[in-house]
Symmetry: C2
Subunit: 224 residues, 2 copies
C-alpha cells in the first residue's frame, strides 16, 4: 500500500519502479524478471520495492493500475464524444465513420506505438496467465471499451449491440489489430520488414479498414 503522505522524492521512486516494472514484465514476463533488475532499471534500491509495494506482486498490481489510469485518460475524450453522439443520435454512415477512426487509432496504438507496446505486451501476458492484476484491467479498460464499440456497431449496422454476433464480431476487429503485435515477429519475417513504424502501420490500417468496410457493408445488406 502507498503510504498516506509521500514526499516528492518518494513519489518519483514509486513512479520509476512502476514504469520499469511495466516495461520489463511486458518484455520478459513476470517470472522472467527479477526485482533486482527492476530496481536497477529504475535507479532505485531493491528494498524500496518491499517498502512501496509490499513485494513483487504488489508491483504487478501497481503496474496494472497504472495501465488503467493511463488508458482511461487517453480514451476518456473519445469515449465521451461517442457517448454524446449516441445520446443525441447518429446516422449509420456517421457511426461507420467513427468506427473507421477507432480502428485507425487502435491499430496505431496497438501495433506501432513503442510506448504503447509495453502496455500491450503486459496486458497480453496477463491474459495468458490471469492474475488479480487482470481483473482490474478487464474491468477498467477492456469491458468498457468493448461495450462502446458494440454500441457503435449497432448504430452502424442495425444489429443489436449486445447480441452474440455483434460482441464476437467486435472481438474479430480487435483480433486483427492485436495480431500484428503478437505475431509481430512472424509478420516482420514474412513481409521482409525491419520494424512496424508509421509507414508500415499505415498499410495495416488500410487493410484492416478495408476489411471493416466490407464487413459493415455486408451486415447492413442483411438488414435492409
Amino acid at each position: 500500500m502507498k503510504p498516506p503522505i509521500a514526499s516528492p522524492a518518494a513519489e518519483q521512486t514509486r513512479n520509476a519502479l512502476v514504469t520499469a516494472a511495466l516495461r520489463l514484465f511486458g518484455l520478459q514476463g513476470f517470472d522472467g524478471t527479477s526485482t533486482r533488475e527492476i530496481a536497477a532499471a529504475a535507479n532505485a534500491n531493491i528494498g524500496s520495492i518491499a517498502y512501496h509495494f509490499g513485494g513483487k506482486d504488489g508491483l504487478r498490481m501497481a503496474a496494472a493500475d497504472h495501465i488503467v489510469t493511463t488508458i482511461q485518460s487517453i480514451a476518456a475524450p473519445a469515449i465521451g464524444q461517442i457517448q454524446e453522439a449516441l445520446e443525441t443520435g447518429m446516422s449509420p454512415a456517421d457511426a461507420h465513420r467513427r468506427l473507421d477512426v477507432v480502428v485507425e487509432r487502435m491499430v496505431g496504438f496497438i501495433a506501432a506505438r513503442p510506448e504503447a507496446g509495453e502496455i500491450v505486451l503486459f496486458v497480453l501476458r496477463e491474459l495468458s496467465r490471469p492474475s488479480a492484476a487482470l481483473d482490474r484491467i478487464y474491468a477498467g479498460v477492456f469491458e468498457p471499451v468493448h461495450r462502446q464499440l458494440c454500441l457503435l456497431w449497432e448504430q452502424a449496422t442495425g444489429e443489436p449491440a449486445e447480441s452474440e454476433r455483434t460482441r464476437l464480431t467486435v472481438f474479430t476487429l480487435i483480433g486483427q489489430a492485436v495480431y500484428f503485435r503478437i505475431g509481430r515477429e512472424a509478420v516482420l519475417r514474412r513481409m521482409g520488414w525491419n520494424e512496424i513504424g508509421p509507414g508500415e502501420a499505415g498499410k495495416l490500417v488500410e487493410v484492416i479498414k478495408g476489411n471493416l468496410d466490407a464487413i459493415v457493408a455486408a451486415r447492413r445488406r442483411d438488414r435492409p
Copy 2:
C-alpha cells in the same frame, strides 16, 4: 542430441519429456517452468533431461521440432490437395470454398481443441520472445502455411498472392482466429462463457467465415 541407438524405454522417456515440456512451457512460459516440474510431469528423472537434451534449452528445441513434425503431418494432406488443385486450376468460387474450409479448420484448431492449445500457446510464447526454437517453427510451419493461403487468396479474388495487401490480409484472417486463444480470458468474461468448446467454436467459425465472405466479395468487386 539424441543418442544414435535408443532403446524403446529411452524413447518413451524422451517423448514423455517433450510432451510435458511443450505443455508446461506453453502454460507457464519457459522461465516459469522448472526442469523438476517437467521431470515430475513426465514421470522421469531430472537427470534424464540433461542426458537426452543436454539441458533445458535443448528441451525447448526438441519441443519446437515436435510441433513442426506434428503440424506437418496434420496439414500435409490438406496442403497436398490444395497444391494439386492449384496446378490443375480452380475457379474463384472453388478457391473461396476452400478458404472457408481452411478458416473452419484453423479456428477449430486454434481456438477450441485442447490438445492444440498447448501447441498454440507454446508458439505464441516463442513469438513474443523469439529464440532459436522459433526459427524452426517459422520455417517449418508458419511460412509455408501462410504462402499457401496467399495462393488460395489469389485464386479466390484475383489479387496477386505475394502482393503486400494479400499477405497482410491473410494475416488479418489468422489474427481473428488467434485472438480467441490469446484473449480467451477476456472473451469468456465478456461472453459469459465458461469455456470455448465445440458449441462456442461453431459460433466463432460462423462469424469469422461471415467476415471472410464479406472481404472476399468486396475484393472481387474491386477487380471485375
